[in-house]
């Protein structure tokens, strides 16, 4: 399931305090909701990559990336073209398993979807999904017939092919 107008911006920024604050402020001024954000250092420890998704049309997204590019401490900005990147998101999905039958069908779902079990407790299973945004959405949909008590997602990150 592809969300309409979901745009992904990939930024390289100085790895230091205050940078995220200034980047985020631009999103706020344009009234873009940050749908997801994933940040971490790159091969150069002084540089972080921020991958941010938002809902926007192409034209405003382009002019917005130019604005971000101008922000001091932002080293590079790209509006991601999905075909040029590998894109992944990690999700942890906790499903309540009251009885053995539920447990069995959850395990079956795990196998059929090719995802991983991260932890099993007495009354729940925590599943680890690493996939594209659409893949994660798809898994969460299939899991919705169980009692999903908690979901935690990292937001997508991308790397150019």
């Amino acid at each position: 399931m592809k969300r309409n107008n979901l745009k992904t911006v990939s930024l390289l920024v100085e790895n230091k305090p205050g940078v995220l604050f200034r980047v985020a402020n631009h999103f706020k001024r344009r009234n873009y909701n940050i749908e997801s954000i994933a940040v971490g250092p790159t091969e150069d420890k002084t540089v972080s990559r921020m991958v941010i998704t938002m809902i926007a049309d192409e034209k405003s997204a382009l002019s917005f990336t130019r604005l971000l590019r101008k922000t001091i401490d932002v080293l590079d900005v790209k509006l991601v073209e999905e075909d040029n990147v590998i894109s992944r998101e990690l999700a942890l999905v906790k499903i309540l398993t009251k009885d053995q039958a539920t447990r069995d069908s959850v395990i079956e779902l795990v196998k059929s979807k090719g995802v991983k079990v991260a932890e099993v407790t007495e009354d729940s299973i925590i599943i680890e999904v690493s996939d594209s945004f659409e893949g994660v959405e798809d898994f969460i949909n299939s899991a919705s017939r169980f009692t999903v008590c908690s979901i935690s997602r990292t937001g997508v990150t991308v790397i150019e092919k």
Binding site: F21, R22, N25, R66, L67, I72
Partner: protein, 561 residues
Amino acid sequence: MVRLSGARALVESLKLENVGIVFGYPGGAIIPVYDELKDSGIRHILARHEQCAAHMADGYARASRRVGVVVATSGPGATNLVTGIATAHLDSSPVVAITGQVPTSLLDTDAFQEADVPGIFNPITKYVFQPRSASEVPYSVKAAFYLASTGRTGPVVVDIPKDVQTKVDDMSFPDKVTVRGYTPYIEPDSTAVARAAEILLSAEKPILLAGGGVKRSCTEDVLLALANNLMLPVVTTFMGKGSFPEDHILSMGTIGMHGTYQANTLITEADVVVSFGARFSDRSTMDINGFTNRKKVIQFDIDPTEVGKNIEPTEFVVGDLRRSMTMFCEELMKRAITKNESPWLKRVISLKQEYDEKVFGNNGNNGLSSPKIIKKIREVLPSESIVTTEVGQNQMWAKLYFKVAQQGLFITSGGLGTMGFGFPAAIGAKAAKPSVPVLDIAGDGSFQMTCNSLATSVTENLPVIVCILNNSSLGLVAQWQRTFYNKRYYATWLGSTPDFVKLAHAYGAEGVRVQSLDELERALKQALRCEVTTVIDIPISPEEDVLPFVPTGGSLKDMLV
């Protein structure tokens, strides 16, 4: 390496930037810096409110075309700077603000006189530095000046915690800084320049539009050459006013909500607009679709984010205007045939003459109307004078009727529209150019916002002239109430208080009230001769409208005249 305190390092860094003058207001969290300033040889000009100090630094920057410096204490000192810094930001004026801050150990504890300066100033500056150790001070200051004065210029804040000011540490002063990812210099694309030239030469009704960027990049000479060589009419935005001599036959004045009749008419009729350093703000273009209708726009700008922000240009050239406009000029010279016989040029000249006759022709009596007052000021002032304005009708009349000469300078708060800007900015401009007359065209409302700067003007011996177009009201707002709210005046009547003549006298300045153009002329000449701060109070009718006027939502052609 030398061992110095952070405060001393700051002052040494300012000297290395050739700062000779700072504007400011002291307080507890900045005393170490003031202690070092005392014997530094740098002149400190004491404002009576930090907002005024910021406007002074801004006016200084605009008049000198260098960086203006303002110093304030933490907390309320810093928050009082907000309006001044936001004003500089919207007009891309290079100002460096140095603020004191609570000691690092107290940051984010709501300590006494703590304000989150990086948080507050981030959206209204190019950058905020907050050195957390004394040895970072030289780099912060060097980088602040570098960022403020390069690329699209603008304000930068250096917020220095008190313990960072007092701590003694090993210091090294960099000769040069680079800020990773910041590329102020972009080489213009020569193929785009060639395409732009092609478009201009194929135009039937071309017009040049000059914005504030022409002044910022000091390329008035290239603009003049371009217009002269190709006989092209020139209009300016409000920020660009004065970048083309307004007494020139090809000058059509300013466009926009309160633009001149011929500028708004001609830019509407033009088929090709070549814009230099203008950002197509809503006040300039009014309805954007009406503006771009059936026209090609070529945009030259130093700032790549301006391309496509408010308008989709047919062609654009990004880069420093000095370089790109020169390339453009050369490109045109290679191909150009002068077109001085075109029907368009005839139309341009006849429209200008018709309008000038109507507006500037001699129409009888000696009564005081605002256009006549402004024209009288123009007549009396030497051509190299600097004129600042407040905000409101006074500003619009100055925009319409004060023709800036080639050597002159016009300074106004075009972006933020800050009432109270003009007077302190005039003082800052005077500090930059002591030998040039400086005059603020004011309204009685605006002047009351920063009239405490009279104390600075008098005690620091920075004499300026203030002409108050005194309509006892917040005239521009009242005009809107008259025009669009069925004369339901509310909260716009100021009455006849204060007595500005007495106010001036109370501060040790000259004050005079004039009732006729002759008296105005005498008062102006006297003020110019004596070089003392002079407030000239000029009573005018509160009923006077500024015209022409394009109502919000309308196109430039929908002018009310």
